[in-house]
């Protein structure tokens, strides 16, 4: 027995030498430890938020994602800010005037606004940023957020020069913007990250790389980036040069980049992060029932819906679309399938968009288009019979297309079952990889397809604009000149009541008459913040803002 153990010992020793030979030089430990994180000063307010995937870019002009915007909102500031009720409040601009026709906006900038390196923020910085975002050579995806500016689209498409733009620097602290059309929600747009100022000298010195390294990432916001560890975290400290720094509560923000849903929840519950907004949907019910979980079901402006291919039989018949839409039990879908606290959709424009009377919501003014608490079987069957398919007899084989994901698949299977039960129609299911799916759907090469849309700003136009005949996002291939005329009218009028009425009428056509699509549910934003965190703003566009957040017991 002693001999045997000797053998084993020697074997181990020999193996160690093999191991060392095998991986010598391969190991290069890279330290990314944030020492500061471990040894905080007692009174420092530190908030750790899980941002999700590493943002593709945090350059205000190039960013088009919510994660990137979440960083930019903390490191930059536009002419106006949005308060916790989404109402515009002064930002870099102290005050502004609008011409009577709603076309010319004049902003008066405060003269104490500074960049994080101490230089003053001037009107030129805004003019440069907007021209840059619209310049075709910049290749900015969200350039269309500036198409409201006169000749913005023409310049971006190469049909005008930068000098033709409706942007005029009157003096260092005054900028005048001329719009293409009166846009009642324009202040919301001025608060959008794409319109934030950037520094010409920095961008020209570093190129696109300026926004990929902490040293050159000069902003004018409440925080400045001090560390960017790719796919790991971004650290921000309070910007001592920010004009309103005394109102800013946190000393330090750490945005982590964990992507796996289960891991995100585990690290939240293990105290590694303070705020999360992604979690496995099957955990949501448990968190909702636990008063100590810090769970909040926030609003998120957007709708999950299904496209019927309006140009292809059998869905080119509005009666068929009506039958398929009414046969869906939306309440069952949100309660038994998605289970993430979503609201069954009785319209396309969900709650959260103000109407002409700002105390009322666009959604509530119009009322539901159908009953969402159950499947409207009788009505659905009648519509299908009127279309020439009584009890589903003779209905051609159709396919429901979705992109690969467990969540979408669960919904697809539920819909398949409902259509079979309630209409007697067999629907096949097919899934495609995300990018392939997008192409197929855009081409209109499907019968029924899943779809979804998140608002860019808090006006119903961001939703209804989708279904104009020449919209690039009109995946349902819906074409109705009457609809186009109503949207056009809403875009041009300067009368708020008239504008809202035109949009109500448009939605009435879309859902009440043509049944072009079938809305399933309104998105929600489930998030969790450690109990004790106060003053954080989770707005319905998906942004989390920590400017005024603090710990109650600190």
């Amino acid at each position: 027995m002693r001999k045997k153990s000797l053998v084993v010992l020697l074997a181990v020793l020999m193996v160690i030498s093999v191991a060392i030979a095998g991986c010598g030089g391969g190991s290069q430990p890279q330290q990314q430890t944030e020492q500061a994180q471990q040894t905080e000063k007692p009174k420092e307010i530190v908030i750790r938020y899980n941002l999700g995937a590493q943002p593709e870019t945090i350059d205000p002009a190039l960013n088009s994602a919510v994660d990137g915007a979440n960083v930019i909102l903390h490191t930059f500031e536009g002419l106006v800010n949005l308060d916790e009720h989404q109402q515009p409040v002064p930002g870099v601009a102290e005050k502004w005037d609008v011409s009577d026709d709603g076309l010319v906006w004049t902003f008066h900038l405060r003269n104490n606004a500074k960049w994080s390196d101490g230089q003053p923020v001037t009107a030129k910085d805004f003019a440069y940023a907007w021209k840059r975002a619209l310049d075709p050579a910049t290749g900015a995806e969200y350039a269309y957020q500036l198409y409201y500016i006169k000749n913005g689209q023409a310049f971006n498409e190469g049909n005008a020069t930068a000098d033709d733009l409706g942007i005029k620097v009157v003096d260092d602290y005054t900028i005048e913007v001329t719009l293409e059309a009166p846009t009642p929600y324009m202040l919301q747009i001025f608060a959008f990250p794409t319109l934030f100022p950037v520094r010409q000298d920095i961008v020209e010195k570093y190129g696109d790389k300026w926004a990929q390294q902490a040293d050159s990432y000069i902003g004018n916001g409440a925080f400045k980036v001090t560390e960017m560890a790719y796919q790991d975290h971004i650290t921000m400290l309070k910007n001592e040069n920010y004009w309103n720094k005394d109102a800013i509560k946190p000393d330090k923000l750490i945005f982590t980049e964990i992507v796996d849903e289960s891991t995100i929840l585990a690290s939240y519950e293990n105290g590694e992060v303070d705020v999360i907004d992604t979690m496995p949907s099957e955990e949501i019910a448990r968190m909702q029932n636990d008063p100590n979980s810090g769970f909040v079901l926030g609003a998120n402006l957007g709708t999950y819906y299904i496209d019927f291919n309006n140009q292809k039989a059998p869905f080119n018949n509005p009666l068929v679309r009506k039958a398929f839409s009414l046969a869906i039990d939306r309440k069952a879908i949100v309660e038994n399938v998605t289970k993430g606290g979503q609201l069954p959709a009785d319209a396309f424009v969900g709650p959260g968009f103000p109407d002409a009377d700002p105390t009322k919501q666009f959604h509530d003014v119009q009322g539901p288009f159908y009953d969402v608490t159950k499947a409207n079987i009788e009505e659905a069957k009648k519509a299908l019979a009127d279309a020439g398919y009584p009890d589903g007899k003779g209905f051609p084989k159709v396919t429901y297309l979705y992109n690969e994901s467990q969540g979408h698949q669960n919904i697809a299977q539920a819909l398949q079952e409902m259509w079979k039960q309630n209409l007697g129609v067999e629907v096949e299911l097919a899934s495609q990889e995300w990018q392939v799916f997008q192409e197929t759907r855009r081409r209109g090469d499907y019968d029924i397809a899943r779809d979804g849309w998140l608002a860019d700003y808090t006006d119903p136009m961001t939703m209804l604009d989708l279904f104009t005949s020449n919209s690039g996002n009109n995946n349902a291939q819906y074409k109705n000149p009457e609809y186009d005329a109503l949207i056009d009218k809403a875009k041009k009028t300067n009368n708020e009541a008239e504008r809202m009425q035109a949009m109500h009428d448009a939605q009435q056509l879309l859902l009440g008459q043509d049944w072009a699509i079938a809305p399933l549910y309104f998105y929600t934003d489930p998030y969790a913040a450690k109990p004790g965190l106060k003053g954080m703003i989770a707005d319905p566009l998906g942004f989390k803002r920590f400017h005024f957040a603090y710990w109650e017991n600190q």
């Binding site: 053998v7 181990v12 193996v15 190129g207 796919q231 796996d260 690290s267 293990n270 690039g472």
Partner: protein, 306 residues
């Protein structure tokens, strides 16, 4: 020997040219592109972006442009992360994947080989049974299941290890276990069968007949030869483990190269797909060459003749 190595290097270069060309063609053949997004872009904006990165040029032109950069060691800009180059992405991700991979290889060798040897020497005894039960489990349970289970037990329930990120040594324990479990089991099984095979050879009988102690038989005669099959698999295994695992890196939020690779494919980030493929391919062929050279030293039957 020099001539042999020279030939192999030439073959390696040819292999890489084929890999690069085939990857380039396949990548452009799949639908979608780096700038496809759910919110459909106005055509002119898309054209602006494509012009910025030279994607409006004919495909053959893009191919030659890519080679021109590659020969200068420039893997191009990442389309998905404006302002970052593929060299940056690999430079940031690889050291971290390699660090995790090194721990996994160490665990794999330090536990897998001794376990296999013990198992072979004590065939059909309890030691063998214990090792084989674990080895079967290790091969059968996928890494992501093990990873999730580890997080559940040690982070969510016990709260003794951090669930995510790559900071202190505590953060590195669970990823290492999850990444190495499969390979430990694989190496243990391989060592066991190889050892059993060697122990039944005539020269072992001869050694025993000479009156050598069992320890001397095992160490002097059996061990070296039984390691030959291990060395064979080590080349590709090391290449695979060091360049990172998508699943493990994603679950534990480790900023490594394995995640970049898979993400770049779903993002259609063409230059990153190419860059990481080339990096991985080169790593693999070099590891294979090293293994073939190492053979000469451990197996006297092999000569790298021309």
């Amino acid at each position: 020997m020099t001539k042999y190595i020279l030939q192999r290097v030439i073959a390696m270069i040819l292999t890489m040219i084929v890999v690069i060309t085939v990857t380039f063609i396949l990548m452009h053949a799949i639908p979608g592109g780096p700038f496809a997004s759910e919110k459909n872009l106005p055509p002119q904006i898309k054209a602006n972006i494509e012009a910025k990165y030279g994607l409006n040029k004919p495909l053959y032109q893009q191919y030659f442009d890519y080679w021109a950069g590659l020969l200068k060691g420039d893997l191009g800009p990442s389309y998905k992360y404006p302002g970052r180059t593929v060299n940056d992405l690999i430079g940031d991700g690889f050291p971290i994947s390699a660090e995790l991979g090194s721990y996994a290889i160490l665990v794999m060798l330090l536990i897998g080989i001794p376990a296999g040897i013990i198992s072979a020497l004590r065939q059909y005894h309890w030691q063998d049974n214990v090792v084989m039960v674990f080895a079967t489990l290790g091969v059968a349970v996928p890494g992501f299941v093990l990873a999730t289970l580890l997080i559940y037990v040690f982070s969510s329930q016990l709260g003794i290890l951090p669930a995510a990120r790559w900071l202190s040594w505590q953060h590195k324990i669970m990823p290492t276990i999850a990444l190495s479990a499969y390979n430990v089991s694989f190496i243990a099984r391989l060592t066991r069968s190889s050892m059993l095979d060697v122990m039944s050879q005539d020269y072992i009988r001869t050694a025993r007949a000479k009156g050598l102690s069992e320890a001397a038989v095992v160490i002097k005669h059996a061990l070296k030869n039984s390691l030959i099959p291990i060395v064979t698999v080590l080349g590709p295994l090391i290449a695979a483990v060091l360049t990172g695992s998508f699943v493990i890196e994603k679950i534990f939020a480790i900023p490594g190269l394995g995640r970049q690779f898979v993400d770049s494919v779903s993002n259609r980030d063409y230059t990153t797909i190419m860059g990481v493929t080339i990096f991985y391919g080169a790593f693999l062929v070099i590891m294979n060459l090293i293994v073939d050279i190492v053979y000469v030293f451990i197996d006297p039957r092999i000569k790298l003749a021309d």
